[in-house]
Symmetry: C3
Subunit: 324 residues, 3 copies
Amino acid sequence: MNNNNRGDVKNLSLLGIDDLSQENLHFLLKTAAFFKKEFYKEGRIIHCINHEQTRGLVVQLLFAEPSTRTRASFEVACGKLGIAATSLWNLHFSSMAKGETLEDTLQCLIALKPNIIVLRCGEFKGAESFLRSSPVPVINAGLGAKEHPTQALVDAFTIQEKRGKVEGEKVLIVGDVLHSRVANSNLKLLTRLGAKLGMCTPEELSPVDKQAWKDVVRFESLETGIKWADVIMCLRVQRERHSLRNIGFSMAEYRDKYRIGQEEMEIFRSDGVLLHPGPAVRGVEIANQALNDPRCHIVNQVENGSHVRSAIITLMLNLEIKSQ
Amino acid sequence: MNNNNRGDVKNLSLLGIDDLSQENLHFLLKTAAFFKKEFYKEGRIIHCINHEQTRGLVVQLLFAEPSTRTRASFEVACGKLGIAATSLWNLHFSSMAKGETLEDTLQCLIALKPNIIVLRCGEFKGAESFLRSSPVPVINAGLGAKEHPTQALVDAFTIQEKRGKVEGEKVLIVGDVLHSRVANSNLKLLTRLGAKLGMCTPEELSPVDKQAWKDVVRFESLETGIKWADVIMCLRVQRERHSLRNIGFSMAEYRDKYRIGQEEMEIFRSDGVLLHPGPAVRGVEIANQALNDPRCHIVNQVENGSHVRSAIITLMLNLEIKSQ
Amino acid sequence: MNNNNRGDVKNLSLLGIDDLSQENLHFLLKTAAFFKKEFYKEGRIIHCINHEQTRGLVVQLLFAEPSTRTRASFEVACGKLGIAATSLWNLHFSSMAKGETLEDTLQCLIALKPNIIVLRCGEFKGAESFLRSSPVPVINAGLGAKEHPTQALVDAFTIQEKRGKVEGEKVLIVGDVLHSRVANSNLKLLTRLGAKLGMCTPEELSPVDKQAWKDVVRFESLETGIKWADVIMCLRVQRERHSLRNIGFSMAEYRDKYRIGQEEMEIFRSDGVLLHPGPAVRGVEIANQALNDPRCHIVNQVENGSHVRSAIITLMLNLEIKSQ
């Protein structure tokens, strides 16, 4: 590993995939792989960086929506780098209980001048320009249904790790694309890395921005899509954002047409890769047999999550990587 | 900066402004300014202290009432000094769910021997003597309606920063003085630093302890008060502690007489300073126009909050400041 | 202190007392005493270990049930060792709100590869084999009604500290043994350390596994038990797991037969030791007079909790203790 060729971060914040240059992307994928390899050898990664640089740095997390893996992976990623992580979540116990708005809460955390803010929240009016004006770098850890760039980086890293490359890989996205910030970020990232995208989704849950998705192959039948794919990316049915019934589906119908189960795995290529950004709701969009299949790499995705996020923080804080 | 002339902390804990000597106060204001300047240059302050001293130190926060800026600012302040901060809040998930009292919860945290406890809670019987008996230093981060000394220090620091000095400054406190621990601490602190205090508050929300407030100029009309003032300190209407209706006000009447808005800013001196301890409830005690006015330094107060609290921890743990 | 004779940790995780060898136990009790002594002298313990080893290590806590002292003591113990602790609790704000199971949540935290996981949760099917398969060491911080080994270690340490030894001590367990994971772990630990156990419990709250408890002296009357005992270990009535009424008791009857109060302390030996794992519910299983008695060492137990847990982490991460 060397410290050159990482590229500067164009914009201060990482709000979407477009904030990362091609050089940034390659640095991130290489650095995450380096951290993962070193962690296996040493049980930590602090020796990989100039840790004098991280002493006294603080990352402030603000999670206005529930999370397990994203929040924990950022906290663990910070800890592994020797950076203090402090989290605000469950805003019923914040000053929002006294009438403060989310924007003012965020403004307050920005004013405290942590070294990075990691933000998950619903969309709010003017979010993009508000966040662009922050003097503290903001990492988007899930903003409404817009983007979730760090998860897409985890997915790309996992595809590269398990399939050897991203370029030319055929990735089938299955399920609720409409509400998926993960799908939006993956569309941009995987396309830039040279993958071919397909999707299989009910009309009612297909993306609104037809233009952005115009080069994505649409499969009416899950079977045809799976036979085409090298990688299946299964999405969660976001029941907190809609009810299946309201979109005209019974759970049984949804399962019948879109769930990845035993039968789907049987027609999937033997060296294929099954992904899911998590949390997977067992029995809804994915069956236990698929989760237990050796081609299912959901647990690897989570593991990679901590290393990819350590790499992102390394890039954004411009931490020096130690020569071996 | 040097390490002399900081004064000893008279009492172990910082429960109120009276716990700080004049020497302590000047050390705190100078150290916070030093930290702020260095943070602007370096993006951190750990180089300002002997950080070998902070390794392995732990600050335990106990927040029994909602908070954003005070809790986050202590957590960020600790992180910047390389001190671990660990927080207990939302006591529904503590042993209080099993029938433990707040005092026993606090006794338990004291017994764990962190290096400092930072406490926010409602008043409880015998609080003062209970906290005085703690062998672990306690910092009052808001105790009922009594005192909130660290916020007053933030306010004094901000006045000094924006007005050049505190001595001789005319500070008008507007709103719910009765329930304001911030007002109580500011009365003591600003008076000691030589400011002149005024207040404009409905009779129903004026302080009970008339003796303590006897030297504070009382303004019946907000207009007269604002024309007199160099600094306006707007307080939040603490609707969690009372309802406006119960004290005989409609929201419209309250706004009419006590809200800081466009008109009030127009008659305020052009180099005046508008403060609010936060969270500001937009449209209730303060209008958007006032919040957007360049004389409004509420965001600066929050920023200063982290540096002032780092200075307080530096004083209480007697951390050595590095010569430049 | 030296680094030899600590024994290897037989199994990776600490799920129950049986995971610790006799060598491990003696190392833990000695190391906790060393940490406590050094903390009194220096106000920290980081100088006692090779702190280069702890930089960049992360302990992940998962608390699915309420806790104050266990969670805070692990967080403080980590902080004192210079290890980052990050906590997931209140799972309503985790992905379990989106339909994820506890096992999948746990699997996710394991996948993130912290250096240790500290787990409190209710029993779940296959817990033992699930946790045994974790490649990350898991510390049981209270698993259903099964075991709570770190609390038992705290109790043993406190008995040794206050009575001079554990061997030969007569320890009377009073109250709800049926639901007490603390009692289960103490049965195993104190027996191995040579103590004699007695119990005084309503038939309805006595242990189901009669075989395991067969060598424990059963006292029908609290008075007889107390006259026999050197140590009283009072247990909390776990009203979240049962109601007294359902087991055929009124609160008055329970108090009458099993509460430790003034009268019980009067017949207890003058150099006896009264313990309670906490949280003590004042007036239910224990009266204020007993809590205020000088033989009551509940606060010491909490204090010892941080040092014992620092020792456990030192053992499990094989941290080098510095020669003096």
